[in-house]
């Protein structure tokens, strides 16, 4: 056990800091903002491409995939430096974190060349088509059908909640290819280009407001998808599904940890110097959030240390649960503490963090509402608890 990193890791950090300092775009050029989770502004595409080309986009990958074969501690200091500067690697998080990562893990060389690399270089953006109206938590119940007909699949059905689909070039879609098989065994994964005839995307606003459009319904009406777009083996899609969610899971906690820390910084700034800072009840509850932020970071580090030793850590399954709920608790605390004053919050529209999808300007009531994205998407908190109970604690299935 040790608090700091070794010299090799620190040297890696220095190297990355030097690169960042030389390559971060001029903040004046970043005024154009993302339109959705797949609508990436040109300056951000260029920056992401530069990161890829210089081997700093996904440091764990080999250099031909935008990395430098970094070990886990090196990846960690890399993410620390990005977080410290509020720099987002990609404004198409599903594209980089899930779609291209799944293609790299499960696809063939041609698919990597054709889709994964362009997504990583931000030439294309991607969205993730998993959920359906009848298949949310019970994802394996998905019913969108794909029938192999010669060298094409014919796809019919509907996806929903597909973040950024209206701005995306490709979708990674999970479809049912064997309706006779048990539900986990008849699923496949297809890459579908969004300009394919018969594919209809209908964006709709989320809780953020009538202009906050990220969700889509995606309808498939006899959409022809080349059989070469099948990722992995036919009917082996469930493995990819789990892999896709597990992707970057090793490092996903850093996102939870950093966004909680950021919210905490804002919360402290909000309360400091006010009478709330002397209110024992507020301090008591705030203390708990501060503990959460430390504990999540520490548990993440313990997970890393175990992985570095070749162990399979249990921590990752609780970090999403703890991280998303801790944010919700903190936002609720601040909202409650401000009381009626929350109604009169000056909403400052200046960009605080030019390299981040900045939501700092929104009110605490919106911030509170946004925390539900964390406790609902990517497996709800209830589902996470079921998973931890069964897979980590070994309790019998209900």
């Amino acid at each position: 056990m040790r608090l700091g990193y070794d010299e090799k890791t620190e040297a890696f950090r220095d190297q990355f800091v030097a690169w960042l300092e030389a390559n971060l775009p001029d903040p004046l050029l970043t005024a154009e903002r993302p339109t959705s989770s797949a609508g990436v502004p040109e300056w951000a595409r260029q920056f992401q491409r530069q990161m890829f080309d210089d081997g700093w986009l996904s440091p764990a990958y080999p250099s031909k995939l935008g990395g430098r074969s970094a070990d886990l501690f090196e990846q960690m200091v890399y993410l620390e430096e990005l977080g410290r500067r509020h720099v987002t690697r990609s404004f198409n998080p599903q594209g980089l974190g899930i779609v291209s990562a799944s293609i790299v893990s499960f696809g063939n060389d041609e698919q990597i060349e054709r889709w994964a690399v362009p997504i990583m270089r931000a030439e294309k953006t991607a969205a993730l088509g998993m959920s359906e109206p009848g298949a949310g938590s019970d994802l394996a119940a998905l019913a969108t059908r794909a029938v192999l007909d010669g060298d094409h699949f014919v796809v019919n059905g509907q996806k929903v909640w597909t973040s950024g689909a209206h701005d995306a070039d490709v979708l990674l879609v999970f479809v049912r290819t064997d309706p006779e098989a048990p539900k986990h065994k008849g699923i496949s994964a297809l890459i579908v280009e969004t300009d394919t005839p018969g594919l209809d995307r209908r964006p709709f606003p989320d809780l953020g407001g009538p202009d906050h459009v990220d969700f889509n319904e995606v309808f498939f009406d006899d959409v022809l998808v080349p059989s070469t777009n099948l990722v992995g083996d036919l009917n082996d899609g469930w493995r990819i599904c789990n892999g896709a969610l597990a992707h970057e899971r090793a490092m996903l906690w850093v996102m939870w940890s950093q966004s909680l820390d950021n919210m905490l910084d804002d919360a402290l700034a909000e309360l400091n110097g006010t009478s709330h800072a002397d209110d024992d009840v507020v301090l008591d509850r705030l203390g708990r959030s501060i503990m959460d932020s430390h504990a999540i970071r520490l548990l993440g580090h313990r997970q890393l240390a175990k992985q570095q030793r070749g162990l399979v850590p249990a921590e990752q399954s609780i970090l999403k649960l703890m991280g998303s709920e801790a944010q919700q608790d903190l936002a609720a605390l601040i909202l409650e503490t401000l009381g009626a004053a929350a109604l009169d919050q000056a909403v400052d529209s200046t960009l605080r963090f030019p390299y981040e999808n900045d939501r700092g300007a929104v009110s605490w009531s919106d911030r509170y509402l946004f925390t539900f994205a964390g406790t609902i998407s990517g497996g709800t908190s209830e589902i996470q608890r079921n998973i931890v109970a069964e897979r980590v604690l070994g309790l019998p299935r209900g």
């Binding site: 056990m1 008591d284 503990m291 430390h294 520490l298 580090h301 030793r309 609780i318 079921n386």
Partner: protein, 371 residues
């Protein structure tokens, strides 16, 4: 940072667990609670295995291990609800002497601990139950070759049995530690919640000790603050161990106990409670070992780390005791079942060295005042 126990530390944990499985079965705690048992034999065994020396500095005959190793041992002691003077001696008395004493004084008071398992205690609070050093009034006044003490000390762990007691007093307004022989003070034992963790009130009024019993290694209050921090984290580590055992007992029970034709662990209302207990145990472990690391590295986050460990343990025991007892049903409500021994050990930790809530407020104040 590398936040996992090293192979050597894991080995120490394994050995400690084996020793305590053998030497400190739950029946020992029960015998003590029923008035028929004693911790003496266990202490003799642990002493023969060098436990008291393990985390003492080498110059006084210790083996020089750090706080992480000590946390490993304390966690295991809690997990076994092990009785005896280990915690108060090694995590409370020793830090006080180590930080406040000169090298000679360390040698004088710690060498007997390392060599023969001499026992110690630490006396801080004076009745408020906050362990707030600002409230300390007890004093030591120079009189010729000796000091004369005044005041009382409350909730002193092992206060009625320790051979030496490190007492925090004021001397000319500053915080100091004076080492008082246990037999020199009048001690009144309190009602134990957990029969294996004994507290006493001790009366210092008029007690006279040699001047060389005033620790003079430093004239700063900081050394006293540091000693109390370490003692506080020691309590948190022991509480953590007890909570881990409550969780383990519950997991076994949830898999074995059948109702409605299925194990109760298949009911979601049961599962989710167990998951929340598990998350809190892991959260607490992270915070306790962070504090231990902060001591070992003299990190300046010691104060906040201490409060986070203590408040974390407090929140954890609250959930584990509450749901851990509830999920056992009627059998948990009996004297006979061993669960109650661990519930008591978990609960008692909340009551000394500051409540969760007081520590959470300190954490928030620390964070507010940081730039």
């Amino acid at each position: 940072m590398d936040f996992e126990l090293t192979d050597d530390q894991l080995e120490l944990q394994r050995i400690a667990r084996d020793v305590l499985d053998r030497e400190a079965p739950a029946s020992l705690a029960r015998d003590i609670a029923e008035g028929s048992g004693s911790a003496d034999e266990l202490w003799a065994t642990l002493t023969s295995l060098d436990w008291p020396a393990l985390c003492l500095p080498e110059p006084v005959g210790g083996l020089g291990h750090g706080w992480v190793e000590l946390a490993v041992l304390l966690e295991e002691m809690g997990r076994h609800v092990a009785p005896g003077p280990f915690a108060a001696t090694v995590a409370q008395f020793v830090p006080a002497v180590r930080h406040a004493g000169t090298l000679d004084q360390q040698e004088r008071f710690l060498a007997p601990v390392a060599a023969a398992g001499a026992t110690g205690a630490l006396a801080v609070d004076e009745g408020a139950g906050t362990w707030d050093l600002a409230q300390i009034r007890a004093s030591a006044t120079r009189d010729g070759d000796s000091f004369v003490l005044s005041g009382i000390k409350c909730f002193v762990v092992d206060g009625a049995s320790a051979e030496e007691i490190a007492v925090v007093v004021r001397v000319d307004g500053g915080l100091r530690v004076v080492v008082v022989p246990g037999e020199a003070v009048a001690a009144r034992e309190l009602n134990p919640i957990d029969a294996t963790t004994r507290h006493a009130t001790i009366d210092l009024e008029g007690v006279r000790v040699g001047h060389d019993r005033l620790l003079v290694g430093s004239d700063s209050d900081d050394v006293v603050v540091r000693a109390v921090q370490e003692a506080t984290v020691g309590v948190a580590a022991s509480t953590l161990g007890a909570c881990q055992r409550i969780l383990d007992l519950n997991l076994d029970h949830a898999r074995e106990r059948q109702q409605f034709g299925v194990p109760i662990g298949s009911f979601q209302a049961v599962k989710h409670k167990l998951v929340d207990m598990y998350c809190l145990v892991e959260r607490t472990r992270a915070l306790v070992y962070f504090a231990a690391l902060a001591f070992d590295s003299d990190d300046d986050r010691r104060a906040i780390a201490t409060s986070m460990a203590k408040a974390g343990a407090g929140e954890c025991q609250q959930r584990c005791v509450q749901d851990g007892l509830q999920l056992f049903g009627g059998i948990g409500y009996t004297w006979e079942h061993e669960l109650q021994l661990f519930l008591r050990r978990a609960k008692v930790g909340e009551l000394h060295f500051g409540s969760s809530s007081s520590h959470r407020r300190r954490i928030a104040r620390c964070a507010m005042s940081a730039p």
